[in-house]
Symmetry: C2
Subunit: 305 residues, 2 copies
Amino acid sequence: MKTTVVEQQPLYLGIDGGGSKCQVVLMSAENEVLAEGLSGPANPLRGMQLATESIVDATTQALTRAGLPPATMAQLVVGAGLAGVNLPEYYQLFSAWQHPFASLHLTSDLHIACIGAHQGRDGAVLICGTGSCGLAAVNGQLLEVGGHGFPYGDNGSGAWFGLQLLKQVLRSKDQLIATTLMTELLQAELQCSDTLQLVSHFMHVSPTDYARLAPLVFTAAEHGDGIAQQIVMQGAGHINAIAERLLTIQPAALCLIGGLAYKVEPYLAPAVRQLVVPAAAPPEQGAVWFARQASANARPMGTTA
Amino acid sequence: MKTTVVEQQPLYLGIDGGGSKCQVVLMSAENEVLAEGLSGPANPLRGMQLATESIVDATTQALTRAGLPPATMAQLVVGAGLAGVNLPEYYQLFSAWQHPFASLHLTSDLHIACIGAHQGRDGAVLICGTGSCGLAAVNGQLLEVGGHGFPYGDNGSGAWFGLQLLKQVLRSKDQLIATTLMTELLQAELQCSDTLQLVSHFMHVSPTDYARLAPLVFTAAEHGDGIAQQIVMQGAGHINAIAERLLTIQPAALCLIGGLAYKVEPYLAPAVRQLVVPAAAPPEQGAVWFARQASANARPMGTTA
């Protein structure tokens, strides 16, 4: 019986696909949240198979939770904001994907975050999570800053903070700098105090693994550790620089998003902080808004063709 | 006929196995260089198969060039200084290797560099190549500094310089810092000016790839580029800090080794520079010296057993 209802009114799915997780939301034509789903990485940089499996997995979860049959997937109008699709090769890979949906509208994770945060109005977002990047949308102009990847980009991100922590702990263990509380915190976190074992642990880790260590830098800084305080100031400086670049096109408001945003915010410049507002809706709802706009724009073309 | 000679006198092989290449030298009992060989990476971090293949390949080359039959391999007394064998897991992997030699004596690449540079006498070495690390040997005490790996260690190394270059070029392209001559140099080097293509290029590169870019930083600095000059000062500061730590156990002399050493040397502190001497012999000859000592120490035990 439910499928009859579904066939009459379009169903929308919004996807926020990042390097750590894939968050989806299923919404009705009336903008009502029907269900959510959560799975693993949906970043094509980690491989197309993993990314597409994560997307289908999270979608299946949402349909199940909404009490809808699996076949409903073929009726979904989907908006997806995916980390990495700003790179042409990954955009092409995803465009060529034989997806199981009615339609799939692609953009970057940053773009849907901005749309969601400001509900489609002009504004800016600054993501400080595993990675770091910013986007401002003002009068049709899109300005994107950072987000180039780790370790060459993503300055001030969680991964960046974790890497700085490890670098300084190793320098301290080599007696090249003073001792730091971060050494104790890292050793307690990893249950390991031997330098060679610590190094072995980090030989094949991902940006996400580094980002998990970021809170330890703030803990050490809050306990007066000078080296940690320097890292915090430097990282916040990177985030502040991204924010100030976004402000050059004069967005009326700025949303800080990501697991580390609330840690970094107190260290930002007053001119930046006074523009900060809470996000109105999460990125995956921004993806739904994007899908609505994209499919509304596409429909007349389809009709006249 | 030659094999008869070989059976009478031991032949020594010295191996310097790093992350980029494997250099071997074949030497007579009279310390005469018979032939050399060169192959790919012999760092177990890149995989045991690649490492052992590189070693056998370079050894075969040396035997061929010396006009010796392949079967001579089984008679070689071998000393190997390998990057990574300071990590217990890789030391164990190499110790378990069913090698084709008469005997194999293992130590770190850093140790054989020091032995070669000072011909077995006390002293210190500081490697500034793809990676960075230092070792001082004084009165039986060995002090090792750095060399933990990239990107968390190897500060001031070629890989570090290349990464700093890329980081600052990306920041400059995002207009977060002033323009830098390094952008032009990098774009010319890679024949690519598009930011996304640049980023794609670096998505899966190795420390060796980063290290190849290091000379561009010095070129830009020499042409007055302020951002490049800051990187040079910071990198040289890292190398200087390693040197000063080594000097705490008072080695009489310090050898700077590696492709970037001559670039960094002018920026080191006077107290460090006044101890710098040229290396007496290359690391692979240090490995032969190590094999001689190790087999001489082992022989009486073998005799009495």
